[in-house]
């Protein structure tokens, strides 16, 4: 991976640590409702489907598809890699299980809707930011 860009990091708490730090073990993790199997993101105290509270942290495959994206050209903060790709990806395990992320490891101009990607992690202090790269890369 190229030189790491500046990132504003999230405040890590007991509720979100599985998501932001799972990359230490190379895993993309979400809360999952044990009785009904629903993945819940962002983290919440209960399952939105069955309203149950038996949520456990589980890893997913990290495979995903790009739902949409934008190439950011504007220098909000100095960076060497403009334009860079911001995307919303949907995780294979569940329709609607999505997150905003960056697509890395490929030319920004090659990013497209429907692109198959897999999770990679970029370490910053205690945080492993989940990013995505083309599936074959």
């Amino acid at each position: 991976m190229a030189e790491k860009p500046f990132r504003i990091l999230p405040r890590v708490t007991g509720e979100n640590e599985h998501f932001w730090c799972g990359g230490r073990e190379g895993e993309l993790r979400f809360l999952r409702c044990q009785p009904c199997g629903t993945y819940v993101h962002p983290p919440a105290p209960l399952c939105p489907d069955c309203l149950g509270k038996d949520l456990q942290v589980e890893a997913v495959s990290g495979r995903a598809s790009v739902l949409t994206f934008t190439l950011n050209h504007h220098p909000w903060v100095p960076a060497a890699d403009h334009p860079y790709a911001i995307a919303i990806v949907e995780i294979d395990e569940q329709p609607g299980l999505r997150l905003m992320t960056n697509i890395v490891g490929c030319p920004a101009e090659s990013v497209h809707v429907g692109m198959r990607v897999r999770a990679v992690f970029e370490e910053h202090e205690d945080v492993f930011v989940p990013l995505f790269t083309p599936e074959g890369a």
Binding site: I8, P10, T70, N72, H73, P83, G96, N102
Partner: protein
Amino acid sequence: MERMERRAALTGAGQSEVGRRLGRDPLELTLDACLAAIEDAGLTTRDIDGLSTYPGAMGGNPGFSGAGVTEVHDALRLELEWFSGGMERSGQLGAVVDACLAVACGLARHVLCFRSVWEGSAQGKGSRAGIGLSGGGGGGSFRASGPPMEWTLPFRAYSAVNWIGMFAQRHFHEYGTTREQLAGIALNARRNAALNPAAIYREPLSLDDYMSARMISTPLCLYDCDVPCDGATAVIVSHVDAARDLRKPPLRVEAVGTALRGRPSWDQFDDLTTMACRDAARMLWERTDLGPGDVDVAQLYDGFSFIALSWLESLGFCGKGEGGAFVEGGGRIARDGEIPLNTHGGQLSGGRLHGYGFIHEACVQLWGEAGARQVAGDPEVAVAGAGGGPLAGCLLLTRL
């Protein structure tokens, strides 16, 4: 079902000086707009018994709020029966909707509603500050917490232009919408702004200018982004029974839309080709026998051009996915077109008054006071809608 909002009417509208960077006290600008609206209605400060604003006082985000309820209340020594300020509501115009409900329920008779910004001055040399950067400083020790910042800033999505750019891109993908089409929104705004002395950017803007403009966040270029400014807007919401003998013919609130049925999020909304305006607009038409074909002027949020396109589709001025073709060339949305849009120049060319420029212009057009930009044919029905992403609220006003 009784439509409570029909007991409410718009009876006055006012605006302060509006400029790119005025360097003036934001509270003074706010009070200028408030006093203008009160006078416009033929009222005095003693008649005002309600106060409502978006987003209320905010310390951490310079320029985003020029004044809260407390400052205006005290400066004008108002005697209030009801007041409300805050941003967890149906978009920026949610504060006006709430005022309608307050008068309809008898909590107040004349509610002063205002919105004040000084983002132009706050952002200094004209570089548009990103959301969060302006609030958090972007320093190494700052950490993003809670929605939406925790789920956007770590991915270098510093601004709403990134978030809206992704909605626009999905629309482009599913419906074949193009930049040439989207340009219709910005070019229409500029043509209208040329006839509005209070608008900020009034020089002609061509399709070539648009197509060659600096890209900000694909597919949105510089001219798809509104212009931060300093200024304040105010309107008076009165009970219809208290509105009859005022200076202006009251503009009855025919219907409001406040719904948000999808997830309240920039990245988790179920349909990435539309936004919360879908839900607010659907609700609006559920509350009236009027339909899109009855509307004479539409004043719809264009914080980014794509948001206005999304409002046009949501309100049924064209079909879902047809917004690109509808605005292409700008003829249908021109002042003499099917549905005149953002006749004051919108926020794209008029200035980012954050939702309240639209309700102000809706009133001005219905009162026939728009001067050179007045829509012909004595418009009787106007719709004003504000908000992008998970923010949306709209009102249908009528002289009928």
